[in-house]
């Protein structure tokens, strides 16, 4: 999953537009999402994250710098139901897949995604060792919630969709649902990647420790991407509207 680390939406838009894909192929059974629904999804996941941070800080009086592992776990626990329940509502293939099944595969996707993400992080140089084990796990749970779990909840195991979202095979992600999943995920990963840069510097700040600045980066990237994704959805809806007229 880390493979997508630097996919940037800016770059995609700079490339020449691909051949127009037949729209029927993209979303035969995926429900179209109204702007209002999209807003609610974005707002709730964003607010959930903010709430989790606030809660950790004020109620449990822990924060990322003082107790990175605990805080990450707390954020994950709060975000987990929000993300899974929200995204499962917009699952693809509604006929074949009930809401409960979507929630179930979301729950299953959480640890699997965390495993993949932590392996990717280690490949990129995250420290290995018993001291960092728990922190890495908690961090990758959070990352999994940002990136993999929404995709699992919505698409299940459809390889074609996965490729479209994360590897951009054949066509770019198009449509509000795709934006909603693709952009925040990439935002979180790019944010985390950028967040790792201050780590080797000799500034001697406590937040330069392993997952702290990376988590900050990931959360910042995620929030920015939520905004971008929502505005893209609005633009897309207008575009569709014009086309239909």
């Amino acid at each position: 999953m880390k493979a997508n680390a630097t996919t940037s939406s800016v770059k995609s838009s700079a490339e020449p537009k691909p051949e127009p894909e037949p729209e029927a192929e993209i979303s035969p059974s995926s429900p179209s999402i109204s702007a209002l629904e999209a807003l609610s999804v974005h707002l709730i996941s964003g607010l959930g994250l903010g709430l989790a941070l606030l809660l950790a800080n004020n109620v449990y009086s822990v924060n990322l710098v003082s107790h990175p592992s605990l805080t990450l776990l707390l954020i994950s626990v709060i975000e987990c139901p929000i993300v899974i329940l929200l995204y499962s509502r917009h699952r693809k293939n509604r006929e074949e897949c009930s809401y409960l099944k979507a929630v179930g595969r979301g729950l299953l996707g959480l640890p699997v995604g965390a495993l993949v993400i932590s392996l990717g992080a280690i490949a990129l140089g995250a420290p290995v060792g018993t001291r960092y084990f728990l922190t890495t796990i908690n961090w990758s749970l959070l990352m999994s919630l940002f990136t993999i779990v929404p995709a699992v909840s919505v698409f299940g195991s459809s390889w074609k969709d996965w490729q479209r979202i994360f590897a951009h095979t054949n066509c770019r992600p198009i449509g509000s649902l795709d934006f909603m999943i693709c952009l925040p995920a990439h935002g979180a990963i790019i944010g985390a990647w950028l967040g790792a840069w201050p780590m080797p510097l000799d500034w001697e700040r406590p937040w330069q420790e392993w997952p702290i600045c990376v988590s900050y980066g990931a959360m910042a990237g995620y929030l920015v991407a939520l905004v971008v994704s929502f505005s893209l959805i609005l633009v897309w809806a207008r575009f569709e509207h014009v086309k239909r007229d």
């Binding site: 680390a5 490949a123 290995v128 390889w159 951009h168 990647w193 790792a196 780590m199 080797p200 510097l201």
Partner: protein
């Protein structure tokens, strides 16, 4: 689409490289200060007026020390002091003792040094702020203090083998007049002056956490030494204060106690000096100096005021207490200490001294002696100026026409430099000589005297400033021209790469109707360029330069993941993708990327390089803790694995062929030799001087050289040439689908086979050589780097059309850089493995050990560069062939253009960018400690790229020519036979 011919391309590339070399050498020559040096040692001639063509073949060097001393005293007319105690307090800022900006130091510090402050207050001690020149680290500063010369940076950097100070210096002069010397303290002194000390007790500055014992070890002998009278010079070098600074900074709570300890020592020494003086043991001078200051954090090395503010304190020059004790800012230069001490103790001033006699130190001497001292100093500087300024030489200079009888006059000095210096010198000399004549008649006044002193100082200051600026000043024209040349060559090479890529792309489009967007930009390609950009940006930050290994590891593993993503794009065999049969290819690519990722991560964890995080644990430390037996075991295992990998990869070609057997046999011989050496001799890594071990290594070097060159020359000659309807049935994965006419006309398949073998031979030999030379812990990284090379070869042999050539070549270059840091290198000169450079040396040779050092340090980049030979053989470029337009030049261009141009291009961009960064950072705090060493590494990488690229080009061109010639011969004989 116009296409460059092969010859033109070659010409342009060579032109680009030549321009780059010229630019680089101009820049290096202009940027790094080269020390102005007069060879030899000052003798009696320094007591005579400098004249041109002065032939001094007197044999005063043969005089016995005591006669020499007497001679010096007679010539100078100065009755010198007898004994010197030089107390060096490492890292003590002068501010602590003398205050800053006319203000006394803070109360706490005043209280910490009560005795010293009382000496200063009653005028017994005279203190100066002695401005040190960067780099403010101990060894260069000590050199400056004793030789009076500002060392160049290269002088510091290239002193790997001998640290002894060979230039003319105070201690050498003292030694020649028969002084007995004792040194207690920092062992740097012992490195600088290996045989001069009668007694010594060196302490190491290695244990920075230790602030107590390190000074106790110096002071324990002090009482004993002070009671003896058999020495003339006692050097005490206290490291504790510097260690306090490194731990807690300037305001550390340990600072006041440490200062108090130093003050106690000053008191003890001074009391003993006074006692001895009363006993009639002669006059003793105590000079308390520090080598450099420290920043607020306690660091040093740069050129900020805090770091360069070192102390020079003379106690005992005059014993009478005077009332006027003010905290005036007496700022001198650190180099001034050398001539001052030389004159006080009546020895010749060291030849390359640029310092000036510190004013105020000769107050206890007579006026005559003071003027004499100034005159001696002027003569010495004038000699140095003569060496630097040809215009000052004898013929056209008015300096020689000495005194006319116009009496003392003071002319205005202006005009060009030579005239001005001459004029200033003459002014002083004329005044002095007239004073001398008046002196005889006792008719001089105080005002005369001070005007002479002023005249002398005017000359001395001008000369000294000019001389030291010459060391630190940078010739702007040279630098600008060098940078411009580098920019030009960078532009040429980039344009060539761009042009070739475009041409290939165009060709490819014509051959295959690909809508796949082969010529479009992909994410990984953009990232390859992004890497260059990121590296360039990171060069501007000193912390990033110090920790560069993180950047390369992070970027290469990101690149690996991006490649994985790219391969994942193709994973399902879609109906529209007929061109790539089977998922087998993709499967191999995915596996090789996983191998790359895993081995890259292991390499990253092997050495915790850099500067700031070296204390973190890593695999090599862990292995070394586990004991030498385990290290050796690991080393043996990786050696065996490397040998078996060598065989395995060779056998892919089919083991029935004769030449494969021969090459395999040579691998075996060489591998066994290395293995034996590791088994037997590497046990005692420190003492490697046993002659059998040396002989063994020399044999291995010889075998290596002969077989490598032999393979390169002979293999194309013996490669079987096939002419058939079907192309030769070599290994399965080289899917050569060349048109048969090309196949039969040009030796493509044969060339690929022979390049495969030659390339692999190069790689294996290099790895085995590294096993021999590198430290034992580095055996596994070598193995991993070999595995990485193999994996990338497999990747590129399967990637075919999907991956552009330049991307893969640039990726190989990046892997080489990451491997460079994985072998424990960093951007400081400290990590260079000097011990390895003497393996197999029976006698000392700078050139040979320099080459070995280069081979060890640049193991990984060179390995990846010479793996281009194999890359050329495995990468499928046949899709670029068009049967009509194919000729030898075009074929060579297809194979060779990008593998040679891309490394040159990437390197030239990095080199040029870093040159500009260095120029911008020339006033940065860390220019000498961080940026300049890094620049040396960048230059060495450039050399390494030249070597790698030229050997690749040579190999391919030679093989091609030989095979083409043989093919043509065979073809013609075949047609004749028919």
């Amino acid at each position: 689409m116009s296409s460059l011919t092969c010859a033109k391309l070659t010409l342009f590339s060579i032109a680009g490289v030549v321009i780059q070399i010229i630019g680089l050498s101009l820049f290096v020559y202009g940027f790094f200060p080269v020390k102005p040096a007069l060879s030899g040692i000052s003798g009696t001639e320094s007591f005579r007026v400098p004249r041109c063509n002065s032939v001094h073949n007197e044999s005063e060097g043969d005089l016995p020390p005591d006669q020499l001393k007497a001679l010096y005293e007679e010539l100078s007319g100065i009755h010198p002091f007898d004994r010197l105690i030089l107390m060096v307090i490492d890292g003590l800022p002068a501010e602590f003792v003398l205050g800053k900006d006319h203000q006394p130091p803070p109360k706490a510090l005043m209280k910490a040094m009560p005795y010293t402050q009382s000496l200063l207050a009653n005028g017994v001690a005279i203190g100066y702020h002695a401005k040190a020149a960067p780099p403010t680290v101990t060894m260069p500063r000590l050199k400056a203090m004793v030789s009076g010369a500002i060392g160049g940076f290269l002088d510091v950097a290239f002193n790997f083998n001998t640290q002894a100070l060979l230039d003319d210096n105070l201690l050498g002069q003292f030694f020649s007049v028969g002084w007995k010397m004792v040194m207690l303290g920092d062992e740097t002194w012992l490195k600088l002056f290996p045989r001069l000390f009668m007694r010594h007790d060196g302490v190491s500055s290695f244990f920075v956490k230790d602030t107590v014992q390190v000074d106790h070890n110096v002071s324990r002998h002090l009482g004993d030494e002070l009671s003896r009278d058999d020495w003339h010079l006692l050097i005490l070098h206290y490291l504790g204060l510097d260690h306090v600074g490194h731990i807690g900074g300037r305001n550390s709570i340990l600072m006041a106690p440490k200062l108090l300890e130093m003050d106690e020592l000053v008191k003890m020494i001074h009391t003993s000096i006074i006692a001895n003086q009363d006993n009639g043991q002669g006059r003793t001078l105590l000079a308390v100096v520090s080598d450099h200051g420290m920043t607020d954090n306690g660091n040093h090395g740069g050129s900020s005021y805090d770091e360069t503010d070192s102390l020079a304190l003379f106690i005992g020059l005059k014993n009478h207490a005077s009332e006027h004790a003010s905290y005036t800012v007496n700022t001198v230069y650190q180099v001034d200490i050398a001539p001052t001490l030389a004159l006080i103790f009546g020895v010749p001033i060291p030849k390359n001294n640029v310092g000036v006699l510190i004013s105020g130190t000769f107050d206890s001497f007579t006026d005559e002696q003071h003027l004499k001292a100034l005159e001696l100093n002027s003569w010495q500087l004038f000699r140095l100026l003569q060496a630097q300024l040809p215009g000052l030489s004898c013929e056209n200079s008015p300096c020689e026409s000495f005194i006319d009888d116009q009496g003392p006059r003071k002319s205005k000095c202006n005009g060009n430099l030579e005239n001005m210096i001459c004029c200033l010198y003459l002014n002083a000399a004329v005044l002095h000589s007239s004073w001398k004549s008046k002196n005889v008649s006792r008719s001089y006044s105080r005002a005369d005297y001070s005007s002479i002193v002023a005249a002398y100082y005017e000359f001395l200051k001008t000369a000294s400033e000019w001389l030291s600026r010459r060391v630190t000043d940078k010739p702007v024209n040279l630098l600008a021209f060098g940078v411009a040349a580098m920019l030009l060559s960078c532009l040429i090479l980039s344009c060539l790469i761009f042009h070739v890529c475009k041409e290939f792309c165009f060709r490819q489009k014509k051959n295959f109707d690909l809508v796949d967007g082969m010529c479009n930009w992909n994410l990984d390609e953009a990232f390859i360029l992004g890497v260059i950009l990121i590296v360039i940006i990171s060069m501007g930050s000193s912390s990033m330069v110090e920790e560069e290994q993180y950047i390369w590891h992070f970027l290469t593993s990101t690149l690996d993941l991006l490649l994985l993503r790219k391969t994942m794009q193709l994973l399902p065999v879609k109906k529209s993708f007929r061109l790539y049969e089977g998922t087998k290819k993709i499967g191999f690519q995915v596996y090789s990327i996983f191998v790359l990722i895993i081995s890259g991560r292991t390499l990253r964890g092997w050495h915790q390089g850099g500067v700031n995080w070296t204390h973190l644990s890593d695999v090599s430390k862990w292995l070394e803790q586990a004991g030498s037996n385990n290290v050796k075991l690991v080393q043996l295992v990786s050696c065996l694995l490397i040998i078996s990998l060598c065989f395995f990869t060779l056998s892919v070609l089919g083991s029935r062929r004769k030449f494969v057997l021969v090459v395999g046999f040579s691998f075996l011989v060489f591998g066994l030799l290395v293995l034996q050496h590791i088994m037997i001799y590497q046990e005692n890594t420190i003492v490697q001087s046993s002659s059998t071990a040396t002989l063994m290594v020399q044999i291995i070097f010889a075998v290596l050289g002969i077989t490598a060159i032999g393979t390169f020359i002979v293999l194309p000659l013996v490669m079987p040439i096939s002419i058939s309807k079907k192309h030769s049935s070599h290994d399965s994965y080289m899917s050569t689908s060349d048109p048969i006419e090309i196949q039969n006309k040009y030796p493509l398949a044969e060339l690929k086979d022979s390049l495969y073998v030659i390339g692999w031979t190069y790689i294996c030999y290099w790895c085995l050589l590294q096993l021999l030379l590198q430290q034992p812990v580095n055996a596994v990284p070598i193995l991993l780097i070999l595995v990485q090379i193999l994996a990338s070869m497999i990747y590129s042999s399967y990637s075919g059309l999907h991956q552009k050539q330049w991307v893969e070549i640039a990726a190989l270059y990046y892997l080489g850089m990451a491997g460079h840091f994985a072998l424990g290198n960093s951007n400081t000169l400290a990590t260079i493995d000097v011990a390895g450079a003497f393996i197999g040396m029976s006698s000392y040779s700078t050139l040979l050990s320099g080459i070995l050092m280069f081979i060890i340090t640049y193991a990984s980049p060179i390995l990846f560069l010479i793996s281009m030979v194999m890359y050329i053989s495995v990468k499928d470029t046949t899709h670029l062939l068009i049967s009509q337009s194919a000729d030898s030049g075009y074929l060579l261009k297809i194979m060779l253009a990008l593998p040679c141009l891309v490394p040159l291009g990437v390197n030239s961009i990095l080199l040029t960018a870093y040159t500009i960064v260095l120029l911008l950072m020339r006033n940065h705090l860390f220019v000498w400690s961080v940026f300049s060493p890094k620049y040396l590494y960048v230059c060495a990488t450039t050399v390494c790229v030249y070597i790698g690229v030229s050997s690749v080009a040579l190999t391919v061109i030679y093989s091609y020519l030989v095979l083409a010639f043989r093919k043509r011969m065979q073809c013609s004989s075949n047609t004749d036979a028919r």
